[in-house]
């Protein structure tokens, strides 16, 4: 039986798809049979972030409506062989996704995968509710910023009331906090919420902190999950988060401002803008 993990946030633009792509790739790199599903029907983007947009033939809606087999819609990643991607439909409307249909897809995937990642759309409408409904675990992606923290709190409430586990009164969905776009220099200057503050407010276990990093844009430009960039702090932070998810006890990195640059930078370049 596969574990179903939803990557969610409530708010848009905080890094759900970046996280889904990185996390799925990271799990697959550890040999876990992993599939990542895009739930954003009508506005799919996971295919672009994973770099498989040219290979999309069928999507989850085709599968649910019986127009294609699941095996035909799955796109095998060419970089990590235990990873596949199930794209969302770009042309159908959101009602094409049904709870029964998604249940069937997840059940079929469950048979030969270890992890099923559900990349949720923003908001708390139908697509987001379906993405989290079957979850055993949730990765809540949060930026250190007021609206993101508030929306994360809201989505935590939804997880504990509207998921299948909640409805069936089983053990609750296991929650993980992933703070992204963390900028230690701005935190040091008191311009950004501290990690401790975010943790204190949301009060769920911390899975990782991904620093603000230029490599994330480069990764999306080229369609390469950022975790494959071993020179990037963001990529390393995602690797750590995957390790912790798999039970490893790893120290948190990239929480303090980098001290490189020396006197010259401190004098002339340090506080630009």
């Amino acid at each position: 039986m596969a574990q179903v993990i939803v990557v969610t946030s409530g708010k848009g633009g905080v890094g759900k798809t970046t996280t889904s792509a990185a996390f799925a790739t990271g799990l697959a790199q550890r040999g876990k049979r992993t599939v990542v599903i895009d739930f954003d029907v009508g506005l799919r983007n996971l295919d672009l972030i994973m770099g498989v947009e040219r290979r999309v033939v069928f999507d989850i809606v085709n599968v649910i409506q019986g127009e294609a087999r699941l095996s035909q819609a799955l796109i095998r990643d060419k970089r990590v062989d235990t990873l596949s991607i199930l794209p969302a439909s770009q042309t159908r409307d959101k009602d094409a996704l049904t709870r029964d249909g998604v249940a069937q897809v997840i059940e079929e995937l469950s048979a030969d995968h270890d992890y099923i990642l559900c990349d949720s759309p923003a908001g708390i409408e139908k697509g987001a509710l379906l993405a989290l409904y079957f979850a055993d675990q949730a990765v809540v992606v949060t930026n250190p910023e007021v609206s993101s923290v508030r929306d994360s709190d809201r989505i935590l409430g939804v997880l504990q009331s509207k998921s299948k586990r909640a409805e069936e009164k089983r053990d609750k969905v296991k929650e993980h906090l992933l703070v992204t776009r963390y900028d230690p220099e701005r935190v040091a200057r008191g311009e950004m919420l501290k990690l401790d503050d975010v943790q204190e407010i949301l009060a769920i276990p911390l899975l990782g902190v991904v620093p603000e990093s230029e490599s994330v844009l480069k990764a999306s430009n080229t369609g390469t999950p950022v975790i494959l960039d071993s020179e990037s702090n963001a990529g390393l932070a995602y690797k750590d988060a995957v390790g912790r998810f798999l039970g490893e006890d790893l120290p948190y990195r990239f929480l303090e401002p980098e001290r490189k640059g020396g006197l010259f930078k401190r004098l002339f370049g340090g506080r630009a803008a």
């Binding site: 672009l48 947009e53 290979r55 069928f58 087999r69 095996s71 770009q90 430009n221 080229t222």
Partner: protein, 98 residues
């Protein structure tokens, strides 16, 4: 080495943005077309498989469809596994070897 890396980094910067532009141009060109007409791929696949099935008993689970969308040209590869002569798989193998 540091010097070399500096130049290398400089050269890579524009590369990723131009890759982004190229990828977007290709994917959007295809999406704009599909906005005005229905996506024919599911139907094309179903009809092709139906035609083949008229002649050979095929397993619908053993049909693979691969697509590579390009700027000037796309490639669609449909792979259908055809069963050997019924009940004589072993014999057919021997005959081929002999």
């Amino acid at each position: 080495m540091n010097w070399l890396n500096l130049f290398r980094a400089r050269r890579q910067e524009p590369a990723s943005a131009s890759q982004a532009k190229e990828r977007l141009q290709i994917v959007l060109a295809h999406e704009r077309i599909s906005r005005t007409r229905e996506d024919f791929l599911p139907k094309l696949q179903q009809e092709l498989v139906a035609v083949v099935a008229r002649y050979v008993a095929i397993d619908p689970g053993k049909v693979n469809v691969n697509l590579d969308r390009g700027g000037d040209m796309s490639t669609l590869a449909i792979e259908i596994e055809l069963p050997g002569p019924q009940g004589k798989r072993g014999a057919a193998g021997h005959a081929a070897a002999g």
